[in-house]
């Protein structure tokens, strides 16, 4: 036993003399942190660890993935369905990405709430903001590499948005696509951005970020009524470290380690149980598509659907510009109270932003603005058999036309159809025949006018059917009428 220890010490001594391990450990693992460091401080190290997992899983996925439009999708099919543990590895990469997006927002919110970005840690915030942007770019470019319909149209939509940039819009859009259209040049471009360009940026900023955390120390847990004053803060912080500090290892580090292990375990379990994101249909501009971003961008998709059309250019360019501008500018307010109890506006901002995002993601999956077209042929839904009960021949034709004239793409009857327009299940209660005719012919309120395309016979049939749509009592009456 003694011999083993002696050999171990010998090896360590030999390496230490040449590498300076003790010196490095002293400033990293053993650097002093305030004793008040608690569970709110664990998100950053989890992010770094997940990023490392993303790099490693990405490297191995790249051994099989082919960044060429005519093979990318097939190579992903191979990874997902045939390659040993392929779907698990893809799953870890996908759920790891999801965890990264989620954690970076939590990490940011936690340090925003505790005012940790105030003097002398403004650069922590700025480098972190860069990492936030780069992480979102990674999430966006990652979903494109699947080269399915969602990916193809996400690039088209991305290019359309980039084109709204003042003056240089067209150039920015074409630079993204790698040419005037999405095609052969596009995928390899995004591949290089996803695996080299952006990760290089992330590594750079993580390095600076961690250096700053060590150089300026971890912020102490804020105390209400103890504002930050740049003139005195640094001396006060040194006192805290001196009187109430402890080495990073073990008391802070074990919390970080435990949290990371929990997150990574969750990622792996999700990867095993659910695998990677479903591939969906292959990218093909010649068949109908129903594109949709992954969850981490769907809130933005929802915003674009709901804002007034005339404001779209501002929402696309101005809102992110102002948003990111504020993100970078507000550490200028680097003095004053840090504790959330004394910063109600900060608390309100985080709660509001969290609530708004969750709502938008939810609405984004409901898609009430969307016409309902089914399957790869984008067909309009058809009425249930029960919706035909007790109808005259003219009314039956009208019921047929509900699908034939695509009414059910936007309107619902007996729980069949889209949500874009009003539910017509009981429209007969609200509107008489004249009003129905007027609405159909003239449209309005987002509904197209059908005056030019409907024959009088079809119009009569539609109106006669819609008249029967009444609540229980009324419907029997209408159905048994003339």
């Amino acid at each position: 036993m003694n011999a083993m220890v002696r050999i171990g010490e010998g090896v360590y001594g030999w390496l230490d003399e040449r590498l300076g391990i003790t010196g490095i450990l002293k400033v990293t693992a053993l650097h002093a942190v305030p004793r008040s460091v608690n569970w709110w401080y664990v998100f950053g190290s989890a992010l770094v660890n997940i990023f490392i997992i993303q790099v490693v899983t990405g490297m191995f996925l790249a051994m099989v993935y082919i960044p060429s439009p005519d093979h990318a999708y097939q190579s992903l099919q191979l990874i997902s369905h045939h390659q040993l543990l392929g779907n698990v590895l893809r799953g870890i990469h996908y759920w790891g990405a999801s965890a990264m997006v989620l954690l970076i927002f939590i990490h940011m919110s936690a340090h925003f709430l505790t005012g940790s970005y105030k003097y002398p840690r403004e650069l922590h915030w700025l480098t972190g903001s860069m990492l936030l942007i780069l992480t979102i770019v990674m999430a966006f470019t990652g979903q494109l590499l699947r080269w399915n319909q969602d990916a193809y149209w996400a690039i088209v939509v991305g290019a359309e948005q980039a084109a709204r940039t003042p003056f240089i819009g067209q150039w920015v859009a074409q630079l993204l696509m790698g040419g005037p259209n999405v095609g052969g040049e596009t995928l390899s471009r995004f591949y290089a951005i996803h695996i080299w360009l952006v990760p290089a940026g992330i590594v750079t900023f993580i390095t600076v970020h961690i250096y700053l955390v060590i150089y300026k120390g971890i912020s102490e847990w804020p105390v209400p009524g103890k504002p930050v004053d740049p003139k005195t803060y640094w001396a006060e912080y040194q006192t805290i470290l001196h009187e109430d500090g402890e080495p990073f290892f073990p008391n802070a580090l074990w919390k970080d380690a435990l949290f990371t292990v929990l997150v990574v375990t969750l990622v792996i379990v999700l990867a095993i149980v659910l695998g990677g994101q479903a591939l969906g249909p292959q990218a093909n501009p010649l068949v109908p598509a129903n594109p949709k971003p992954d969850w981490y961008l769907i809130w933005y998709f929802a915003i674009l659907a709901m804002v007034p059309p005339s404001s779209t250019p501002y929402v696309i360019i101005l809102a992110p510009a102002v948003g990111f501008g504020l993100l970078f500018l507000f550490p200028l307010a680097n003095k004053g109270e840090r504790h959330p109890a004394r910063r109600p506006w900060a608390v309100a901002t985080v709660i509001l932003a969290g609530f708004a995002t969750a709502t938008l993601v939810w609405v984004g999956y409901q898609e009430p603005w969307k016409p309902l077209l089914i399957g790869s042929q984008a067909t309009v839904p058809t009425l249930k058999a029960s919706s035909y009960r007790g109808l005259t021949p003219t009314q039956v034709l009208g019921a047929h036309l509900m699908s034939g004239e695509a009414c059910l793409a936007c309107h619902q009857i007996d729980n069949v159809g889209g949500h874009r327009g009003p539910d017509l299940t009981a429209v007969g209660d609200r509107l008489g025949p004249d009003q129905l005719t007027w609405r159909i012919l003239r449209g309005g309120g987002g509904m197209p006018a059908f005056g030019n395309t409907l024959t009088p016979k079809k119009l009569t049939a539609l109106v006669s059917y819609l008249e029967t749509r009444k609540t229980a009592g009324g419907q029997t009456q209408a159905a048994s009428g003339p």
């Binding site: 149209w153 501009p285 594109p291």
Partner: protein
């Protein structure tokens, strides 16, 4: 003498020299890299006419989807080498080709023949048979490609993806 020593001593001179060397090197490297990166917007492919079928294939008054290859496409573009248009035969030799890209955010609009409308699957923009906006967030009519008839065949002129700027 003292003044010059302070302003430009040996160390400052060598420091400036190293920085200048680095700067020159960066420019020498940066120009080809930047040029390569900006290539796609500097080197625009020439637009060409693409055949989409004989005139007789299309019924007067109907709108159908036709596929054609973009200009300057790479061999490995797969199915994404192509794009499609909604081609309507207005009358005898009169054709209109609508781009599939919705003018809101570029999603592919879908033609519904009976009610004669284009529907966008993303945010529900609606266009009538002439490509005019009749509902939803789209800010302008559908884009159109040039169409010509050559030897009784319909041809569409390729174009960069239409962008609302």
């Amino acid at each position: 003498m003292n003044f010059t020593r302070k302003l430009l001593n040996r160390e400052t001179f060598i420091g400036l020299f190293i920085v200048s060397l680095g700067g020159l090197g960066s420019i020498a490297l940066g120009i080809p890299i930047l040029g390569f990166f900006l290539g796609p917007i500097i080197q625009q492919p020439k637009e060409v006419w693409r055949d989409v079928g004989p005139v007789d294939k299309f019924k007067v008054g109907s709108t159908v989807q036709v596929a054609f290859e973009y200009s300057g496409q790479l061999q490995w573009g797969g199915s994404t080498k192509y794009t499609s248009a909604w081609l309507r035969r207005d009358s005898g030799l009169q054709f209109t080709a609508f781009a599939v890209y919705c003018t809101h955010l570029g999603c592919p609009v879908h033609w519904l023949a009976e009610p004669e409308i284009f529907l966008c699957p993303c945010h529900g923009s609606v266009f009538n048979g002439n490509g005019t906006v009749v509902g939803g967030p789209a800010p302008r009519p559908l884009f159109k490609y040039d169409v010509r008839i050559q030897n009784s065949r319909v041809q569409i002129k390729t174009e960069p993806q239409p962008l609302v700027t």
